[in-house]
Subunit: 192 residues, 2 copies
DNA sequence: ACCTGAACACCGTTCAAGT
DNA sequence: ACCTGAACACCGTTCAAGT
């Protein structure tokens, strides 16, 4: 006679995300997840191949959330303003889920293998803005310059690596403003 | 009768650095370090408080190497060119010691607590260039914008997070060039 | 004073036995 | 078909006993 399910993959991933944010990656143990969903640790292996696999699912879920958030930002006529809004939303998301954020961008492939499709979707809004700012032939390089800056800023902010004092909100706004200007000269002349 | 020393702190840190680069942070076990220096694992605790402590020493040694490398770069009359050289040297260092680099910038305070003084020294060359490019009153913000971009680029490059194809060397050069231009407009007018 | 074997707590993971 | 206790290998770390 089969046993009724006492948990689910979705519940396990959700529990893992909460533990990650409250206890860090080192605190994300199979034991802790099992406790939270109400089973014994070995039972988790019925739904998940390994701890690394579970971490990958957590990262992907976070990346998908991020993609949805960035996709929902309305865009207007001014690409400089659009970039500012996008960057602020990116930063807000990183502040809300710092451990999840770092799992995506910082912990790297040693711990996580992300899904290509989720990445492409999260990058889409920025690619549109980059094309507006730098022209379509420099779209990818411009998007990479912006992503590198934004991710680098957040990585260092979350890691406490900006340890020379000063105002970080101001430094962030300064950075977006400089980047918004940086591509203008490279754009092909407008028609007419 | 005292036993002769069979290893030293310097030897332990050096062994740890090599293991880190060849086996990753997960492979950097006390056992592996002990094997390499020729003692048993418990003996390491005579010179090192804990594994976390050893990781911190590895990170700091790497950061000091980086500072020395960046400090040795000759600077000329053109701050744009100086920035380009500095950025290339930064990238070259990251490519030589990817795991050590990531220990400094990416793995964060969960694993590592860096020495403030080492950081200040490594940042000095960039601060000089930033003051030249953006003017002294925006020195810190400009330096942070550049650091964020450079670190973000390298983090993502090393993590394989640039997965949309394209030429990364080109994207890097494009980024430095944009950043070198980005501050010009904000500088106070030259005398005369 | 440094080194060692033995031991402890805590991981991830496997598996035979239950229902 | 899912769940569990028991067990295994492997960590970091402590400590009493050696020299």
């Amino acid at each position: 006679m089969p046993t009724p399910d006492r948990t689910s993959l979705a519940q396990i991933v959700e529990a893992a995300r909460e533990i990650l944010e409250s206890a860090g990656l080192a605190g994300l143990t199979m034991q802790a997840v099992a406790d939270r969903v109400g089973v014994r640790a070995p039972s988790l292996y019925k739904r998940v191949r390994s701890r690394g696999d579970l971490i990958g699912l957590v990262a992907d879920a976070t990346l998908q959330d991020m993609g949805a958030r960035l996709d929902a930002i309305p865009t207007g006529a001014d690409p400089r303003q659009d970039l500012t809004e996008l960057a602020r939303a990116f930063r807000a998301f990183a502040h809300e889920r710092p451990a999840g954020y770092r799992l995506i961008f910082d912990w790297g492939p040693e711990t996580v293998k992300l899904d290509q499709a989720s990445f492409v979707r999260a990058a889409a809004p920025l690619l549109r803005i980059a094309a507006d700012l730098a022209g379509p032939e420099h779209e990818l390089e411009a998007a990479r310059t912006i992503t590198a800056w934004a991710n680098g800023f957040l990585s260092m902010e979350l890691a406490g690596a900006f340890n020379l004092g000063g105002d970080l909100d101001l430094a962030f706004e300064y950075g977006v403003a400089r980047l918004a200007d940086a591509f203008i000269g490279t754009r092909p002349a407008a028609i007419g």
